[in-house]
Symmetry: C2
């Protein structure tokens, strides 16, 4: 009755379908997931699924976008936290690592990379609401730090590409390839410290 200003739902089971699709895609990948599995998981009929989504591929795109957005929102929560640039960078590094080392993050990355040749728009969607998102936040952060005299960077775009890569430090590729399923806190702290040390060595101002 009272749903004023609410976005008109296309149907009652939209979320249900998306959630089921999420579960199955994350578990089985894109090719590995059958639409029949998805409708079973979602507790929905096949006809219903196809009344919402024209095909399996676009259903996955929707899932991936939702997943990216959820993670971005989580990561953005607060970019700033400390006046000490070293502390701030360490916090940012920690957020980024959790961003792309999480189970869902790894899994979405795997699927998107695997399918991005046959379905290029998947790669674009993922990039725009994943890496590009992080990157633009980082650029803003670095600009402010430079303006505040806390960092000295001539090529901010390059620096914004370098820092996330430093935060991977071999761990990401191992997880993506399935060689390990988690990184210990010690390892992550070591990688963060190494990344921040190196970044500040190059771009820090003399204290």
């Amino acid at each position: 009755m009272n749903a004023p200003g609410q976005i008109i739902k296309q149907g009652r089971k939209w979320d249900q379908v998306l959630e089921g699709a999420r579960t199955v895609f994350m578990r089985d990948g894109f090719e590995g997931a059958s639409v029949d599995d998805i409708v079973r998981e979602a507790g929905v009929s096949k006809a219903t699924l196809y009344s919402y989504f024209p095909d399996k591929r676009l259903l996955f795109v929707e899932v991936a976008k939702a997943e990216c957005k959820a993670q971005s929102d989580e990561a953005i929560k607060e970019v700033e936290g400390s006046d000490d640039i070293r502390v701030a960078l360490s916090q940012a590094a920690g957020r980024m690592i959790r961003f792309f080392m999480s189970d869902v993050g790894i899994q979405v990355y795997r699927i998107v990379v695997g399918e991005s040749q046959r379905f290029p728009e998947i790669g674009r969607e993922f990039y725009d609401c994943g890496p590009a998102m992080v990157r633009s936040i980082l650029v803003e952060f670095l600009k402010r730090a430079v303006a505040d005299g806390k960092l000295k960077i001539d090529d901010i775009d390059l620096a914004a590409d370098q820092f996330p890569e430093l935060c991977k430090a071999g761990l990401h590729v191992q997880m993506v390839l399935g060689l390990r399923d988690k990184a210990s806190d010690e390892e992550i702290d070591r990688v963060i410290a190494g990344a921040v040390d190196m970044f500040l060595c190059k771009y820090g101002v003399a204290d």
Copy 2:
């Protein structure tokens, strides 16, 4: 007739099969490639293919291993070239970038990442003759440089993880996601210079 358990190891058409498989896998990915396409491309009968390889998956593993090895051999050709550590590092960076930015390198990475969940041994094989290979070469190089007093590194393992990541600098992910198909020489040079600068800033000895 055919003794069970006997594995056919050699035959005239082994290379022919592998070459055809390489072409089709690189063009269409793993799922996208059909065995019929491969035998057509290789100019070989299906029965012949299956007399050499027990299934499609292991055929792909063999292709990926051969591809990795070819690229590694290419990259290893000469690790050293200059006494100047900056020049030597720049050359190493250039080799690495060409290693994982090449068409074949990107394509193998895509396929391996996409399939590594369902077929974990593919991830392992790729890692061992790709990233791990590069890494061990780099570790040796860095150890020697430290021994020669040209670098000062406390955690060589970490440094050997950081340098290749610095060489990616956002380009790799864009290529893997299909957002661009090549990087200009200027971009590559800029990335190399940035990586070497940063690396030497942290690990270089005062001149």
